[in-house]
C-alpha cells in the first residue's frame, strides 16, 4: 500500500511539474482570458505555463489543444490562443521528443503497480538492444510524418544530428527499463490486459504505441528462448518478400488519424521493413506472453480488472467532457489517439471518444466484460453480491452509450444460448431444441428473402459500389450521376464496363465482382457468392461502407494474393481515384472498410485471409467444450465482421487473446 502511494505521488509530480515551468523573472504574468487579452497571449507565447494560466482562468470557455510541433523550450507553456466561435482555443506546447520521454516514464511507473510473480524466469536483455535500431528505422521510413509533428526532427545521417543520437540512446534506456520492470512481472501481465483500453498508449505526436514496443521486446525474448522458426514464421517471411517486391515509389501519405500509433503512414521500402518486422515481433511477443502465462491466468482477476477499467472509462470520460483541463490531461496521460468528447450530448457522448477511436471497439469491450462476468457467475459460481457486481452498472451504461447494436444483440444472443445449454431442459430435449432452432432460422431466412425481394437484396452491394466509381466522367457531375443512375435502374452492369473509360476507372475488385456476378452458367439452388455477400451486407447495414470499399480497393495480382503488408492502408486509401457519392461534408472523411475481414484482405490478401480465417474456424470446431474463450472468440468473430476493430491495437490484443486462450488454455490437445 505504501509502495502504491509513493508511486502515485511520483506519478502526479512527474506529470504536473513539466506543466508548471516558466520564467519567474520576466514581467509576463497570466491575465484573465477575454477578447481583449487574446492578443496578449498571441504575442507572449512560450512564457506562461499551463498551470499558471489555468489558475487564472478556471471558468472561461476554453479548449486546450496540444501543440506537438512546439519547441522543447515551449513545453508545458501557452503557445497560442485563438477565439473559435464562442470558445477559446488555447494551444499548449507538447514537444514530440519530450512527449516520448515523459509519457514513457509515466507509463513505466504505472506498470510498476502490477504485482510481481512469485518466481523469476529466464529473461535476456542482450538481444533486446536490437529494438532501438529497428525503432530508428521508423524515423527514416516515416520521415514525412515526423517532419510534420516534431520541430527538431531530422533524418540526416550525420554526426551533428544529435536528435537521432538522443532518440537512439533513449530507446536503449527504454529496453533496459523494460527488462527491469517486466523481468519479474511479465507472467502477471495477462490478468491486467483490460487496462489497454484505459491506457491507450499512443505517444503524442508520434506514430508509435508503447504496446507495440513492449510487444516487440517480448517477441525478441520469444526468439531467444524458443530459438525455433515454425511454419507460420516461414509463411510470414514469404509474404514479406512479396510485400517488399510490390512496394513502388509513390507520394502516398496517411497521417494516421484515429489509427495513429498503429498504422504505416508511408508506403516505401524502409517504412514497410519497419512495420513488417515490428508487427511480426509484436504478434510473436504477445503469443509468447499468453503461452507463458497459462499457469498465472486468473479469470476472476481478469473479470475484476475488466469491470474496474470499464468503470474508470466512464468516470474519466464524463470528467473529461465536463472539464477542459481534465480532457487535456486524459489525452496526455492515457495516450489517446484523438481528443475525448467535449460535451455530453447524445452524439458526442456516444463513443467514449478519446479512450476509444471507435464506438464499435469500445462497445465490444463493454460487451466482452459483461460476457466474462456472466460466465464467472454461472461457471465459477462467484457470489453475485460481491462488491465488484456494482461495477456492472457502469458497464451496462457504457454499452448503452456506445450505441453498438451488433455488440448488444450478439451478447444477448450468446448469453441466451449460454443460459439455455446450462439448463436441464436443454440436456433432456437437446435434439428437439436444436432442430427447432435450425428450422426457425431456415424459415426466417427464406421469409426475409421473400419479403425483401431477392433480386434487390442480391444486387444492391454491386450497385452501391457502382455509385462511387468515377464512371461517365463529365465536368458536370450531375450529368455523370444521371447516366449511372439510368444504368442502375436498368440493372445493367456489363454495358457500363463496355465503355473503355469506365473500364479504366473501375477498381480491379469491382471488375472482378461484376465478372463473377454476371457469369453465364448457373447452378440451381446455389446462390451467387456476390449475391450472398450483398444479402449479408444488407442484413448488417454495411452495404454503403462495403460498396465504398469495392470502389476504392483496386489491388494488382500480387496485392490481391498477398496483400500490401501489415498496417499498410496507403494503397487502399489513395491508389485508386473514386467519386464518392456521399454528402459534401463527408468527402474528406476517413473511409475504412468497416469489416476486419476486409482489413485482413487489404493487409494479407486472399491467401492471408484464407489462412487466418481457416485457422480460427478450425480451432473453434476442434474444441467441443463451450469454454469462456470459445464464447469470446465467437463473439469477437461475429462483431469483427462489421467493425474495423483489428485496426486498433487494444482490440487486436483482445482478439488475439481470445484465440490464443482457446488454443493454449482450452485446447483439448495442447501438444499440437
Amino acid at each position: 500500500m505504501k509502495n502504491k502511494l509513493t508511486i502515485s505521488a511520483i506519478l502526479i509530480l512527474l506529470l504536473l511539474i513539466p506543466f508548471t515551468f516558466s520564467d519567474r523573472n520576466d514581467s509576463i504574468t497570466p491575465q484573465i482570458l477575454s477578447d481583449s487579452t487574446v492578443g496578449f497571449y498571441q504575442t507572449s507565447t512560450c512564457s506562461i505555463s499551463l498551470i499558471e494560466f489555468y489558475l487564472q482562468n478556471q471558468n472561461a470557455n476554453i479548449y486546450f489543444n496540444s501543440n506537438d510541433y512546439a519547441d522543447i523550450k515551449c513545453f508545458g507553456k501557452i503557445t497560442g490562443v485563438d477565439k473559435v466561435n464562442n470558445s477559446y482555443m488555447v494551444s499548449i506546447g507538447t514537444n514530440t521528443s519530450i512527449n516520448l520521454l515523459l509519457q514513457s516514464s509515466l507509463w513505466f511507473i504505472i506498470f510498476l503497480l502490477i504485482p510481481k510473480n512469485k518466481t523469476e524466469k529466464i529473461f535476456s536483455i542482450r538481444f533486446s538492444l536490437l529494438i532501438p535500431i529497428l525503432l530508428i528505422t521508423q524515423y527514416f521510413g516515416e520521415n514525412r510524418f515526423y517532419s510534420k509533428t516534431n520541430i527538431i526532427h531530422s533524418n540526416d545521417l550525420s554526426i551533428s544530428n544529435y536528435y537521432l543520437f538522443a532518440v537512439f540512446i533513449f530507446y536503449f534506456l527504454f529496453c533496459v527499463v523494460f527488462y527491469d520492470v517486466f523481468k519479474d512481472r511479465y507472467l502477471n501481465l495477462i490478468n491486467y490486459l483490460p487496462y489497454v483500453f484505459l491506457l491507450v498508449g499512443t505517444f503524442s505526436g508520434m506514430n508509435l504505441n508503447i504496446y507495440l514496443i513492449i510487444g516487440s521486446l517480448f517477441g525478441i525474448q520469444s526468439l531467444v528462448i524458443n530459438k525455433k522458426f515454425k511454419m507460420p514464421d516461414f509463411i510470414y517471411f514469404i509474404f514479406s518478400i512479396f510485400w517488399l517486391i510490390n512496394t513502388n515509389n509513390n507520394e502516398f501519405f496517411f497521417d494516421g488519424d484515429k489509427l495513429r500509433g498503429f498504422s504505416n503512414s508511408s508506403y516505401n521500402i524502409t517504412s514497410q521493413i519497419f512495420w513488417i518486422v515490428i508487427f511480426y515481433l509484436f504478434i510473436r511477443g504477445f503469443l509468447f506472453l499468453v503461452k507463458e502465462s497459462k499457469a498465472y491466468f486468473d479469470i476472476e482477476k481478469f473479470m475484476k480488472n475488466s469491470l474496474i477499467v470499464s468503470s474508470l472509462l466512464i468516470l474519466f470520460g464524463i470528467l473529461g467532457s465536463q472539464s477542459p483541463i481534465i480532457n487535456f490531461f486524459n489525452f496526455y496521460i492515457f495516450g489517446q489517439n484523438k481528443r475525448g468528447m467535449r460535451e455530453f450530448s447524445s452524439i458526442a457522448g456516444n463513443t467514449w471518444r478519446g479512450f476509444s477511436s471507435s464506438a464499435e471497439s469500445i462497445g465490444e469491450f463493454f460487451a466482452f466484460t459483461l460476457l466474462i462476468f456472466v460466465y464467472c457467475l454461472v461457471s465459477k459460481k462467484i457470489n453475485v453480491l460481491n462488491p465488484y457486481s456494482l461495477l456492472l452498472f457502469p458497464v451496462l451504461y457504457g454499452l448503452y452509450r456506445a450505441n453498438n447494436f451488433a455488440a448488444i444483440s450478439s451478447t444477448s444472443l450468446i448469453l441466451l444460448i449460454f443460459f439455455l445449454i446450462n439448463t436441464n431442459f436443454y440436456k433432456v430435449y437437446r435434439f428437439y431444441i436444436l432442430s427447432g432452432i435450425a428450422a426457425f432460422s431456415f424459415i426466417s431466412v427464406i421469409s426475409y428473402l421473400y419479403l425483401q425481394d431477392y433480386e434487390y437484396l442480391s444486387t444492391e452491394l454491386v450497385y452501391e459500389a457502382t455509385l462511387h466509381q468515377d464512371f461517365y466522367g463529365d465536368p458536370n457531375s450531375y450529368k455523370s450521376f444521371l447516366q449511372v443512375e439510368q444504368k442502375m435502374q436498368e440493372r445493367d452492369l456489363n454495358s457500363i464496363l463496355y465503355n473503355s473509360e469506365n473500364f479504366q476507372n473501375a477498381s480491379t475488385s469491382y471488375r472482378f465482382l461484376v465478372d463473377i456476378f454476371t457469369q453465364n452458367f448457373n447452378i440451381p439452388f446455389v446462390p451467387n457468392v456476390v449475391a450472398v455477400i450483398s444479402i449479408i451486407s444488407m442484413l448488417i447495414n454495411r452495404t454503403e461502407m462495403w460498396g465504398i470499399f469495392i470502389a476504392k480497393y483496386s489491388p494488382n495480382l500480387l496485392e490481391a494474393m498477398f496483400g500490401s503488408g501489415p498496417m499498410q492502408l496507403n494503397g487502399y486509401l489513395y491508389k485508386h481515384d473514386v467519386r464518392l457519392d456521399v454528402p459534401k461534408y463527408k468527402l474528406e472523411a476517413l473511409f475504412l472498410p468497416h469489416s476486419s475481414i476486409l482489413d485482413i484482405l487489404i493487409f494479407f490478401g486472399f491467401f492471408g485471409l484464407f489462412i487466418t480465417v481457416g485457422s480460427i474456424l478450425y480451432l473453434i470446431m476442434k474444441n467441443y467444450n463451450l469454454g469462456i474463450f470459445k464464447i469470446l472468440t465467437i463473439f469477437m468473430l461475429v462483431n469483427l465482421l462489421k467493425s474495423d476493430s483489428i485496426l486498433y491495437i487494444n482490440s487486436l490484443l483482445f482478439f488475439l487473446f481470445c484465440i490464443m486462450g482457446l488454443y493454449y488454455y482450452e485446447n483439448s490437445d495442447p501438444n499440437e
Binding site: N67, D71, K73, C74, T79, I151, Y163, A166, I169, L173
Partner: protein, 107 residues
C-alpha cells in the same frame, strides 16, 4: 513589402494574381480575413515564437516583419534534447547500480 517580395514568396508561396501589396504597418484595428483556399502556415520569429497565418497577405505581413516558416534553432534544440536524454539515462544507471549492489549485499 515590395522589396521583400522574393523572401515573402519563398515563405508564403507565389503572390496571387489579384492580391494587392498593401502596407498594414502596425494598425491595431486591421483584421486579416481568412482565405479558405490558403493552407495555414506556421511562422516563427527569432525567439522561436509561433504564429499561424491563414491568408497570403497575413503571411506576407509577418514575413515582412521578420517571421519565417523555418526556425533555425536546430542545433540548440537537438543539443538540449540530447542533454536531457543523457541526464535521464545516466541518472537511471547510477540508481540501478546502487540498487543492484544493495540487493547483492543483502543476499
Amino acid at each position: 513589402m515590395k522589396d521583400n517580395l522574393v523572401l515573402i514568396e519563398n515563405n508564403c508561396g507565389l503572390k496571387p494574381a489579384d492580391q494587392e501589396l498593401i502596407e498594414i504597418g502596425s494598425d491595431p484595428n486591421f483584421v486579416f480575413v481568412n482565405d479558405p483556399a490558403f493552407t495555414t502556415l506556421r511562422l516563427f520569429d527569432v525567439e522561436g515564437n509561433i504564429i499561424n497565418v491563414n491568408s497570403w497577405i497575413e503571411c506576407a505581413h509577418y514575413v515582412n516583419g521578420g517571421w519565417l516558416t523555418t526556425y533555425n534553432e536546430g542545433l540548440s534544440g537537438n543539443l538540449l534534447f540530447l542533454s536531457i536524454v543523457i541526464l535521464i539515462t545516466s541518472s537511471y544507471f547510477v540508481i540501478r547500480y546502487f540498487k543492484f549492489n544493495k540487493k547483492s549485499y543483502e543476499k
